[in-house]
């Protein structure tokens, strides 16, 4: 899936042009993220039915007064399932890239700063990880380790390390030769101080941008896993598994597939917009790596 | 008097920039008779390249062109795209400054010569290849048949420019514009290229515009010289008369800046102090006044018009032209 490509790409639309359009889009994206995030976090407190309650008499009901967005084939309330599904997607979506950014970011910074054999090893190691088609890697590891929110988060997190390593290393490389770093070294600053005080603040913003893009990718990967039935184990509702179930009912109740698909699409799109805007701001010409 | 082949009438080029409209070329008039050579001289940024692009109708998309460019009786600024395309090559040709960037790096030399011949002369591939070899030989490239299969990066700078010249001449144009043809080349090669151009020009009775920043290049190789500064023509005269008695302090300074063989060693080069004016902020007075050693209050207050007060076929724009008494200018 090309969506998993987190590489620092060639410069796309010029940031100047995009900024005007994205002004409104950016706000809408942030609004959606806040909305869905709040809904997911406060799901327990919201006045909605339980996602696992089955209303046998109202199976595959279209949206209506009783069930705002209808019910699925087992009579469970769609709206509630969508909100609880958001919980899973956002939890995995936000936690997995944290692993990537912490480990990958540090490795990248150290590699770009210290150079030499450490850098060669890091780059080589990252390349080997990149040699695995991502979904294959995730499927394989969860197959061996077992399906659980923890395992899935860990695996996707590890998968994200190469992208963050590359970004951190590239930025560090370009900064290491600049005057303020050379000056700090001349003044006798320790490596730790340079890394933390001088380099980290500059590396942080691009990493945050990639983090957001990573969230988008993670939501998709988790969705794909759940779609195949190999993600978070049932009965936890996940958008992916809801789409898979909806597929069975495409002819009679298409909204069962399209509603979770829409929610996932909007969430992925929102994180992509926000992440891309930040990326364009920090790095209008990413250049070669 | 033969009708001019090329007549540039009141041409101006404006480029929109964030800081305001930039007038790269300001109200330029030129005329060139068939078979004659015109030299356009000026520092970098004076607008000479924009002028050549304006003549060729190859301006960037955002540029705005004013005025007319008459070529062989037709107004190029109003010509439909297809008609313009058809006269490029057989009537109008150009050699750019840097042959490394003006030749396509991923196509062979042969392809780049042959396609021109095929496009305009309707030759088939074999005939075009033969003609291509002849053209390469004519511009002094050794082993021309092998060159057809080579790529631009496999040739030296001088050779590449010869190839560019061969391509330009391939359809026997009536006018060749050479935009700084030797600036990107080694000094030793420069004279060869210029001589090649002059020779071909004579042989084909072709009109030529030679654009350069070096006055020394146009001496002896052009019939007329126009000096540009800050987007305008500031002096224009037949070559011999220009060198014998130039009127513009700027031209004098340009000439003085050329290193001479017979000066004593370590003679400091009299460079022109200062820099050309910011094109987005035109000055009220003469554009050259801040750097001119003869400038006075009048020069800074009002722009001198380009005129021919001596009625000798020489144009200049100066309140205090050289070689004349103070009261001579209008």
């Amino acid at each position: 899936m090309a969506v998993l490509d987190l590489e620092v790409d060639t410069a796309v639309v010029s940031p100047v042009r995009k900024r005007r359009r994205v002004g409104a889009l950016f706000l809408a994206a942030v609004a959606w993220i806040v909305l869905i995030g709040l809904a997911a976090a406060l799901a327990g407190a919201l006045p909605i039915v339980s996602p696992t309650d089955m209303d046998i008499l109202a199976r595959r009901a279209p949206p209506g007064a009783e069930h705002w967005l209808g019910t699925d084939q087992l009579g469970r309330d769609e709206f509630s399932r969508l909100i609880y599904g958001a919980r899973i997607s956002l939890t995995v979506g936000l936690l997995a890239p944290v692993i990537g950014v912490l480990i990958g970011g540090s490795l990248g910074m150290l590699a770009g700063y210290f150079r030499g054999r450490f850098e060669t090893l890091t780059v080589g190691g990252v390349d080997v990880l990149l040699a695995f088609p991502p979904l294959v890697f995730v499927l394989a590891v969860t197959a061996y380790l077992g399906q659980s929110v923890l395992n899935i988060t860990l695996v996707i997190g590890v998968l994200g390390i190469p992208a963050f390593t590359r970004v951190a290393r590239a930025v560090t490389l370009s900064l290491s030769e600049r005057e303020f770093v050379v000056a700090a070294r001349a003044l006798g600053a320790t490596h730790a101080r340079i890394l933390l005080r001088e380099l980290l603040p500059n590396v942080a913003l691009p990493l945050v941008a990639f983090f957001l893009l990573g969230v988008a990718v993670t939501i998709v990967v988790e969705g794909a896993l759940s779609f195949l039935g190999l993600g978070v184990p049932p009965p936890a509702p996940s958008w992916g598994s809801m789409i898979a179930e909806g597929r069975e009912n495409l002819d009679i109740a298409p909204w069962l597939a399209f509603l979770p698909a829409l929610f996932m699409f909007l969430s992925v799109l929102a994180f992509n917009i926000v992440g891309d805007t930040l990326r364009a701001l920090t790095d209008p010409r990413p250049g070669a790596l | 008097m033969t009708a001019p082949l090329l007549s540039v009438e009141g041409v101006s080029v404006e480029l929109p920039t964030p800081r305001g409209a930039l007038r790269a070329v300001d109200n330029v008039d030129l005329a060139l008779a068939p078979g004659r050579t015109l030299g356009i001289v000026g520092e970098s940024g004076c607008g000479k390249t924009m002028l050549s692009r304006a003549i060729l109708q190859l301006l960037p998309k955002r540029a705005r062109l004013g005025g007319r460019v008459m070529f062989a009786g037709r107004d190029l600024t109003n010509l439909p795209a297809e008609a313009l395309r058809r006269l490029r090559g057989p009537e109008l040709a150009v050699v750019f400054q840097d042959p490394m960037t003006s030749l396509n790096p991923v196509l062979t030399i042969g392809t780049q010569i042959i396609e021109t011949l095929q496009a305009h002369l309707g030759m088939d591939a074999a005939a075009a290849a033969t003609r291509g070899v002849e053209l390469l030989a004519a511009v002094g490239i050794p082993a021309p048949a092998q060159r057809l299969r080579q790529y631009p990066h496999q040739l030296s700078g001088g050779m590449r420019q010869r190839v560019a010249i061969a391509i330009a001449l391939s359809c026997e144009p009536k006018l060749l514009i050479a935009d700084e043809p030797t600036t990107a080349l080694d000094v030793t090669v420069q004279a060869q290229i210029l001589d090649l151009l002059a020779r071909e020009q004579q042989r084909r009775h072709m009109a030529m515009i030679l654009i350069t920043h070096d006055l020394g290049v146009v001496a002896g190789r052009t019939d007329e010289v126009a000096v540009m500064y800050a987007g305008r023509i500031v002096e224009r005269a037949p070559t011999s008369r220009l060198f014998a008695g130039m009127r513009m302090p700027y031209t004098e300074a340009l000439l003085a800046a050329i290193p001479k063989l017979d000066s004593p060693p370590h003679t400091p080069l009299p460079a022109i102090a200062g820099r050309p004016p910011d094109p987005t902020r035109p000055l009220a007075g003469c554009s050259f006044a801040p750097r001119c050693r003869y400038a006075d209050g009048r020069c800074r207050a009002a722009k001198p018009p380009l005129g021919d007060p001596e009625r000798a076929g020489t144009l200049y724009a100066c309140w205090h032209p050289l070689g004349l008494s103070e009261s001579a200018s209008a």
Partner: protein
């Protein structure tokens, strides 16, 4: 050219080795015992011990890796305990289907992406350009399984033009075979075209500003020739590289698509092995896919040199 290829080959081998090691390590993550998984919890301790000895499961891990690698290099990726077929045989059986899907998908992606990229590059900055670029961006947020559902709903359920599942071999029914690939390949193509289009558009915009394009115009060449010969060729380097890499990467997306559309490819083999907990097949397929990906990247590197003569002659 030979030294260029030789140098790249030297890179290839360590990477392949590392990939094999990583695959083996992943497989060794299995908590508990492979023998136990195969025989189930009905097995007696003696049978478990016997199987362990037979499979060499009680050897130290580095020895097991060595033995496994030795087998792999000799073409023995193991044999499924479930179906009895050799892993290599199972993979090779299904490889053509996956390749057909990936190639068709990439071709369709190019067929959509290239014309749009050229259009956007020529009209860069216009409303058309901005619209198409926005569309590409939006499409990137639509993963392949969602696109599959959408396309199935549209073409199979509503319009009934194309089959939702089902596959016939090419040798039996070429037209039917191709028909069964249309929706799956199209699904993947929609995931591919945005990246391809962005890359080509960006490179072409840069190329169109080069001096040699102005020169081509000054020579009076036809606009079509300038666009497709002078501008497209130098702009296509990145595109070719990415296309090549993507064909390999498609294995990930092909996995889901094969499963949804019931195509008997490698992806479906992998997913099926996971459903059936057939770890022997899983390990073999993962190794095959990863190694294949590395090799495809290598080939793409070579192709790059063919397209840009400057690299061939060592003067990038």
């Amino acid at each position: 050219m030979a030294s260029f290829v030789g140098k790249r080959l030297l890179y290839l081998l360590p990477v392949l080795l590392a990939v094999s090691l990583l695959t083996f390590l992943i497989a060794s993550l299995l908590p508990g015992d492979l023998a136990y998984t195969i025989l189930g919890d009905q097995a007696t301790p003696e049978r478990l011990a016997a199987l362990r000895a037979q499979m060499g499961l009680d050897l130290p891990i580095w020895q097991r890796y060595g033995l496994w690698l030795w087998d792999v290099v000799h073409g023995d990726l193991g044999r499924s305990f479930r179906t009895g077929e050799t892993v290599l045989g199972a993979v090779l059986d299904r490889l053509p289907v996956s390749i057909e899907l990936m190639v068709l998908a990439e071709l369709m992606g190019l067929a959509i992406g290239i014309p749009l990229a050229i259009l956007c590059a020529v009209k860069s900055g216009s409303a058309v350009d901005r619209f198409l670029t926005g569309l590409a961006f939006g499409n990137l947020s639509l993963p392949s399984f969602m696109m599959a559902i959408l396309l199935i709903y549209l073409f199979a359920v509503q319009l009934n033009w194309l089959p939702a599942t089902g596959w016939v071999p090419f040798s039996e029914d070429p037209l039917g075979n191709l028909r069964s690939f249309v929706l799956p390949a199209l699904t993947l193509a929609f995931a591919e075209w945005p990246a391809l289009m962005r890359i080509l558009r960006s490179d072409m915009i840069a190329t169109l500003q080069e001096d040699y394009i102005a020169m081509a115009k000054a020579k009076g060449l036809r606009p079509a020739r300038i666009l497709f010969v002078h501008a497209l060729k130098p702009s296509s380097l990145t595109l070719v590289t990415v296309t090549g890499i993507n064909i390999g990467r498609l294995i990930g997306g092909a996995l889901i698509v094969e499963t949804i559309f019931a195509l008997p490819g490698i992806g479906r083999l992998l997913v099926g092995a996971i459903y059936a907990r057939d770890f022997i097949i899983l390990q073999g397929v993962v190794l095959f896919v990863a190694a294949g990906f590395v090799v495809v990247n290598f080939i793409v590197d070579m192709l790059y040199a063919v397209l840009d003569p400057r690299i061939r002659h060592g003067r990038a």
